[in-house]
């Protein structure tokens, strides 16, 4: 009260530029102006220099014919008709593919290793410790080169391929028969969808019943029958509406079938194995963060160690695990740009590699690539934050 009244008595004595409100607004206006000026100066200076050097600028290259070949394409691409724009999408999809699969593999491997490291089994926990300490202390680039050269060197030449069940494994990759649809396969897929919906329904029913009566139902078994068994039965009833296109050995290469290239395998393995070591530590930290009293309480209620881990420890550990886990996912996605080293055609290899070199438009190409990585990372963060808000401690 006293301070207020002092301020109220002498409003006229404070010059306007000493008014804290005015100052705070003024500083922010000046800062914004400076930032805008800096960006404007940088952009116009870059454009000016490019023009002086007679380097083309703008995005006109996007629709020009690319003219180069890409070894792995998820969408239609050919050197003759496709544009630099299409090459960009090919690279982006390849990045997303290796990123998504890498995250799945790294998560499975990381959780397994992290939990193993806490195991009472001496051998298991020492193996997990050795894994973590070895893998995370070797630079990723070296590991990628190791995987690539190990994969290449260990496998036989294409003419001495390992063959099994119509598949071929050699230093050009893994070639498996490609399943092709016959009419009627739609019914099998429909049965699969019905199975998923039905098992979800069963799960909710079983949970409700357990809440009310305490009786447990064999949810896992019933789901398995519904999701796998039902489509299988339909599949055989309809006389197996599926045929396979087996790879054929030509003069140089295998044609037909599905091919898994060694560049892709090396990158995927390298990224997953490396990131899994970090995820393992994150998981271990998360589990350690749950007080031991929780375990003891669960045991004293008569829960065995499996359900204790699944129902008591992990749900509580998740809220410690998820935020650092998000960083590991982001690291994995960003690290996938090391694909350049092993010749996997990801966004960086295709777009900031060949496209940049051919168009010479470093500023545009690099800016686009950075924006794309920023966008992918932000979306990943967003999804993880949504998940985090579900698992975090709900405070009342």
């Amino acid at each position: 009260m006293a301070i207020e009244s002092v301020g109220a008595q002498q409003p006229a004595r404070v010059a306007f530029y000493n008014n804290p409100k005015f100052r705070s607004v003024a500083y922010q206006v000046v800062l914004c102006a400076l930032v805008v000026l800096a960006i404007y100066a940088a952009v116009s200076n870059a454009l000016d220099n490019l023009q002086r050097a007679h380097v083309a600028s703008g995005l006109g290259f996007w629709n020009q014919a690319a003219g180069f070949d890409i070894s792995q394409t998820l969408i239609e691409y050919s050197a003759s008709v496709s544009t630099y724009g299409t090459a960009f999408w090919v690279g982006l999809l390849n990045t997303l593919l290796v990123g998504a699969l890498g995250i799945v593999l790294a998560t499975i491997l990381g959780f397994t290793i992290g939990i193993s490291r806490l195991s009472k089994n001496w051998l298991l926990s020492k193996v997990a410790t050795t894994y973590v300490e070895t893998i995370r202390n070797i630079p990723l680039l070296l590991q990628l080169l190791f995987w690539y050269n190990a994969v290449l060197k260990a496998l036989p030449d294409i003419r001495d391929s390992h063959k099994f069940m119509g598949s071929y494994l050699n230093n050009r990759g893994l070639f498996v028969p490609e399943p092709l649809r016959d009419p009627g396969l739609g019914w099998v897929e429909a049965a699969f969808a019905i199975g998923i919906v039905a098992s979800l329904g069963f799960y909710y029913w079983a949970r409700k019943r357990q809440m009310e009566t305490g009786q447990q139902a064999p949810v896992a078994l019933v789901s398995l029958v519904l999701v796998i068994g039902l489509p299988l039965v339909i599949f055989f009833v309809l006389g197996m509406p599926l045929h396979f296109d087996a790879p054929q050995l030509g003069r140089f290469n295998l044609t037909g079938g599905l091919a898994l290239q060694p560049e892709f395998v090396a990158l995927l393995l390298g990224l997953s194995v490396y990131t899994a070591a970090f995820i393992a530590e994150v998981v271990r930290a998360g589990i350690r963060a749950v007080s031991h009293g929780q375990t003891e309480a669960a045991y004293s209620l008569g829960l065995r160690s499996g359900p204790t881990l699944r129902l008591i420890i992990v749900p509580q550990a998740m809220r410690v695990i998820v935020p650092p886990l998000t960083s590991q996912y982001l690291n994995l996605i960003k690290n996938s740009s090391l694909a350049v080293a092993v010749g996997y055609p990801d966004l960086v290899q295709v777009f900031t590699g060949t496209v940049l070199n051919q168009t010479g438009q470093a500023v545009e190409v690099v800016a686009i690539t950075m924006l794309v990585y920023l966008f992918i990372s932000l979306v990943t963060s967003l999804l993880m934050n949504i998940y985090n808000s579900r698992v975090k401690l709900v405070e009342r």
């Binding site: 050097a53 380097v55 050197a79 003759s80 044609t255 010749g343 051919q358 010479g360």
Partner: protein
């Protein structure tokens, strides 16, 4: 408030600073050393030896320019560049001159903002395969996997050639020349493609060079030459005429061994080349005896060729198209007049 304006002025000054300036010659003279973009991995063209001494046909271009501008062929800082990064390095001013077995093409000359100063090696793209495949022609490569280096004209020619001949191509691209060759050597690809000169050079690095053959087809024109940035005519002229002078010197029979005797020559063309008559070096913004220094320290084009890629080198490449125009080749330089 004054301080704020001061900060604005400072920020403005930082950002308005010039990029690649048009004064390359002056910059090089002031710096006292020439920054030269080179290969670093290709024997015969640009490769440092065990002692770190760079040698090669392209390396000699850098040395010749250094001899002309700074008077000492040793005042060169070599910057090893990959095929992918080379143009950005030149555009951004990291190097004053790019001499890295680079093919002269229309788009590089225009949209990339380069100026090619001439051709120091007439090359063409070829293929190398394993002898055991029993392939005798590039036209038999339908369905083959081909290892190729990224960011090269060869990458484009490869796709063109297979398309034109209606053949299936499986290309595997690497950013790095070493990795490309290693993958081919490991059996990842059936064929390896690059400029023919490069094929002979890379073959020496394979585990068993004798198991591989170079196919007879040359599928493209690859005129390799040094390049500088657009928009600096004086520097462009310097690099261009140093190259021409080396060819003219061979044409006139002047080499590093006889250049001192040749100073007494009565042939007016030789007298002009060596700066005894006229002021041709000075017209470039250099000294009268500019070309004398180049020939004395680096030699003429023929000497450079034989020493690096020809009979005096492990590559033993035939001069072919790169012979002088008087001897059945197409190597020709305008006169110093």
């Amino acid at each position: 408030m004054k301080r704020v304006f001061g900060v604005v002025a400072l920020a403005a000054a930082v950002f308005v600073a010039q990029g690649a300036s048009a004064q390359t010659l002056k910059q090089v003279k002031d710096r006292g050393v020439l920054n030269c973009g080179a290969n670093g991995q290709l024997a015969g063209f640009g490769l440092p030896d065990a002692q770190g001494n760079w040698a090669g046909l392209d390396v000699d271009v850098c040395r010749a320019v250094a001899a002309a501008v700074l008077g000492d062929a040793k005042k060169v800082k070599f910057v090893p560049l990959t095929a992918k990064d080379r143009f950005t390095a030149l555009q951004s001013g990291d190097v004053d001159l790019l001499a890295r077995n680079t093919t002269w093409t229309e788009s590089r000359d225009t949209t990339l903002g380069l100026n090619f100063t001439g051709v120091n090696y007439y090359d063409g793209q070829g293929f190398m395969v394993r002898k055991s495949l029993k392939v005798n022609s590039a036209l038999e490569l339908n369905g083959a996997s081909v290892c190729v280096q990224q960011g090269t004209t060869t990458e484009l020619n490869l796709a063109d050639y297979f398309r034109a001949n209606k053949m299936q191509l499986k290309s595997v691209t690497f950013a790095d020349a070493d990795q490309t060759v290693k993958a081919y050597d490991a059996g990842r690809c059936d064929a390896f493609t690059t400029d023919a000169s490069g094929l002979y050079s890379e073959r020496l690095r394979l585990a068993k060079p004798d198991d591989h053959i170079v196919l007879p087809e040359i599928i493209s024109k690859e005129p390799l030459g040094p390049s500088v940035r657009h928009g600096d005519d004086q520097w462009f002229d310097v690099v261009k005429w140093v190259g021409f002078a080396m060819v003219d010197a061979e044409d006139l029979g002047v080499d590093s061994k006889n250049v001192d005797e040749m100073m007494k020559s009565t042939n007016p063309e030789i007298r002009r080349l060596l700066g005894v008559e006229g002021n041709f070096g000075e017209q470039l913004g250099l000294t009268k005896d500019t070309f004398y220094k180049v020939i004395k320290q680096v030699g003429n084009y023929g000497e450079s060729f034989e020493r690096n890629v020809g009979s005096g080198s492990p590559l033993k490449i035939d001069r072919g198209l790169n012979k002088l125009w008087t001897k059945g080749g197409i190597m020709y330089a305008p006169p110093i007049h």
